[in-house]
Symmetry: C2
């Protein structure tokens, strides 16, 4: 299994950001074909310090091929366009291959 990971730095207006993120972006992500599950977490530094990142989303796919297909689908492209519209300056994207 693989996952697409989005780490978000803290935006200036977290309230507006979260409204768009949970109200618009995640519903678009949920429509992407091949998505097995997703997990969104609010982040804090450990131990108890401020974290560079404030939100992390992990979106699971069966394989790298399935993930690439998903990103190239109309739904994947729509979610990608939306991401760039509100989070371009805050997001760091990575992929993870689950090994253990």
């Amino acid at each position: 299994m693989v996952k697409l990971i989005a780490l978000y730095r803290k935006p200036e207006d977290t309230e507006e950001f979260e409204r768009h993120y949970f109200g618009v972006h995640m519903p678009l992500v949920a429509k992407i074909p091949g998505l097995i599950k997703s997990e969104v977490s609010r982040l804090t530094g450990f131990p108890g310090q401020e974290s560079k990142f404030f939100l992390m989303a992990e979106m699971y796919y069966e394989s790298t091929d399935k993930m690439n297909e998903a990103m190239a689908s109309p739904e994947g492209k729509a979610a990608g366009r939306d991401l760039m519209s509100f989070a371009k300056d805050y997001v760091v994207m990575m992929t993870g291959e689950i090994v253990e």
Copy 2:
């Protein structure tokens, strides 16, 4: 549910690092009381670029209290000491509260 997240920057000797990580460190982590599950992923930048981080571990606990108890246990302390012995310069720790 909450999770302790460890993001690892790429060490100079990845082979030696992984030998210790998978052979010594994760077995110590597995002994920590209250750990519900853990997930380790190899990271790549998206799309296809090099990532600042090369490994991520996520360790799930029922609550922040349970996680703090786990970290304060002898097994938690042993895993923490081991982490500092081989990964002090590479690891960034965060906690995540799962919201969705």
